[in-house]
Amino acid sequence: MSTQQNTIHLSIGGMSCAGCVAAVEQALQQAPGVEHASVNFAEHTADVQGDVQADTLVKAVEAAGYEAAELQGTEEEAEEKEAAELAHYRELLKKTVVAAVVGTPLLLMSVSDNMPELSGAGRWFWLVTGLITLAVMRYTGGGFFTGAWKSFRNHNANMDTLIALGTGAAWLFSMLITLVPALVPEQARHVYFDAALIIIALINFGSALEMRARGKTSEAIKRLIGLQPKTARVVRNGQEQDVPIEQVGLDETLRVRPGEKIAVDGEIIEGHSSIDEAMLTGEPLPVEKQVGDEVAAGTMNKSGTFLYRATRIGKDTALARIIQMVRQAQNAKPAIGRLADRIAGVFVPTVLIIAVITFVIWFNFGPDPKISYMLVATMTVLIIACPCALGLATPISIMVGVGKAAEYGVLIRNGEALQRAGQLTAVVLDKTGTVTEGRPAVTELITTDGDEAQLLQLAASLEAGSEHPLAEAIVSAARERNLHLASAQNFNAITGHGVEGDVAGSRVLLGNKKLLHDHGIEISAHEARARELADRGGTPMFVAADGRYLGIVAVADKIKEDSRAAIDRLHQNGLKVVMITGDNRVTAEAVASQVGIDEVMAEVLPQDKADKVAELQRRGEVVAMVGDGINDAPALARADVGFAIGSGTDVAIESADITLMRGSLHGVADAISISNATVRNIKQNLLGAFVYNSLGIPIAAGILFPFTGLLLNPMIAGAAMAMSSVTVVSNANRLRWFKPERAAA
């Protein structure tokens, strides 16, 4: 057993002096498996050799009090891959040409009936031809034979087995009758060197075409990788300098000018700008960013110049993680593909058995010269069978579909989600932040005594410590009015009802009707106003101090501009749209009626959301839950497909099956459309592959011969086989042109 020598490049953060170098080096050296570690202070990087994982090294550095991240040139890797693929493609074409150049004259002789006799000088001609054929087969098709032999030893059989047996049998038979023509009757003395060569040429050509087509399936990944700038402008010792992206360290300061791409993830520390994040999130409008806001690698700075501090580099940036996620998902296999896998697993041995049966049947029932028919039919069966089309059908569509989704800011985590998204019957939308902006603001203050400032001040003081979005709206409204906030004691949040606490000696209550009712406080004076506010979709919050009712703080959360249009699209897809919220029924209904929701589940406590999803499932619905992914985690996990929405460039949402990087509900409709299209594409591919094989193999075996006298030429079988996988890949490539429908605005 050998140990693997790896070199891992790390970026090191937090090294303030040359003395730190020794500490980091020591930490790295002591990590298990490390043979050599060297730290470059100027570049803030480290190179480590040994049998060790990058994660282990990162932890070791962090344990020593510094920061580290693995540097990996995804672009370099992609370029290398492309170069290797191009070389392989050329090699395949070269082999195609060589096999065709030798095979075609032989084929022409055969079809024009100008083949030398297998006697006298003719035999010498065929002997030499046979040896040349062998040499050409070795060069152009040697891989099939090595592959066939190696898999055979492993009790496995694959496409190589079929091609090697088919072409090998053709050569062996031809060589045998060249050497000993008396073995077979006169009319069966026909050589098949041309068939062996042409089949190999066709299959190599098919592989080359398939490779070309495959290159396009990873276009989405290439586009994402291309977003990563190669250099960054860092500020070191007060000097700005352009450095390769691999040399940017954590916590370094970088400058971005208008029209430039952001190099690594970071936080703005000086200046402001509007940033186009469309390439990452699909959000068409540029986003305003200022000091303290996060910026993501690969996005485009539009107008301003700013300085930012690198917070995530290398493999850790949002862009790198998106690429990683898309790659992972592209390898996923939904249940629909598992069946094809199982069939592929037994396919080749089954074809071998069919080939033997074909051989025996032609022997028993075939016309003379039997041996020719036996050989041709058996060879054709082996060559026409295409396990590749079957095996390719699912993964190739998934590759394109998942990539397409990423283009629209939809990150699909696994194959199951992709398949189920096409089977949904109901979509549950969380109200706040999903249907609405999720940034509520105070819209009105209604008092019993006219003292608006006091009402707001009490409410804001009580809520100052709370992180509830409604609380933040109240606090920021108070700040805008320059109200002094007192500190609240004995603060208590009553989930689903409101909050209570002591402010400046008074016991203050803030919450819904129920909360005040429960405390026996009369609010009848404002009940009509409250209903009116709620009818418009606002949230009236009642305030009382020491048992005395003071008034209403009305907070409203604006409905997102495109929610209505997106929900219309969901309806067009035949989905039932349900809204779930902790808000009171009146507020919820008001929002629901404005956007066209079918069913409202109001006043649902956060912990009950998952139960509501389960309730819908019991009614026979296949349910999607759309939420922010943090508060809704149990409901997202419970749903058949969980969507986390509007997380911007934060892609690390574990509870969601599908992450929408843009805040719009259109993402849900897009995801469903793309999933439907992908699953449809997979089905077409599988059906095509099944039909091809289940028609092709019997015809090759000669099932039509007794009725029509038709027996396929093995070279036609070679062409059919070569084209079948190309067809599957090309069909999957059609998905690249897929555009989700948009409801008329």
Partner: protein
């Protein structure tokens, strides 16, 4: 002669069934820490890897086959997958929690190997 050919056919079918399906449990390579898995000529070598339950193994996949078939390795039941760059080592770390046999394949299921967890 005719009986012989028929018998030969029958024997051949019997051999295919036995060799590819019944006798598949070829010798597995027992692995405790790290193993190099060569990806070439349509097979993983070794194709059967035996590991202990709960123990982490590092599989160093080294891909020599330039055809795109070989570019991914997928442990479908374990939810693990990796892209394999040509002529480079890509390490896949696995800590199997359950006993049993887990197949690993290329994307199309032509390359096949199995992880036997004991």
């Amino acid at each position: 002669m005719s009986v012989m050919i028929n018998l030969l056919g029958l024997l051949l079918i019997g051999f295919i069934v036995w060799w590819f399906w019944l006798a598949r449990s070829g010798e597995a390579k027992t692995v405790t820490n790290t193993v190099d898995v060569i990806v070439a000529d349509g097979v993983y070598s070794p194709a059967a890897i035996e590991v202990k339950q709960g123990e982490t193994v590092k599989l160093n996949f080294i891909r020599r086959d330039a055809s795109p078939c070989a570019e991914k390795v997928i442990f479908a039941d374990l939810g693990v997958s990796a892209e394999l760059p040509i002529n480079q080592t890509r390490q896949v770390e696995i800590t199997p929690q359950q006993r049993g046999e887990f197949e690993f394949t290329c994307q199309m299921g032509m390359y096949r190997g199995k992880l036997i967890v004991k």
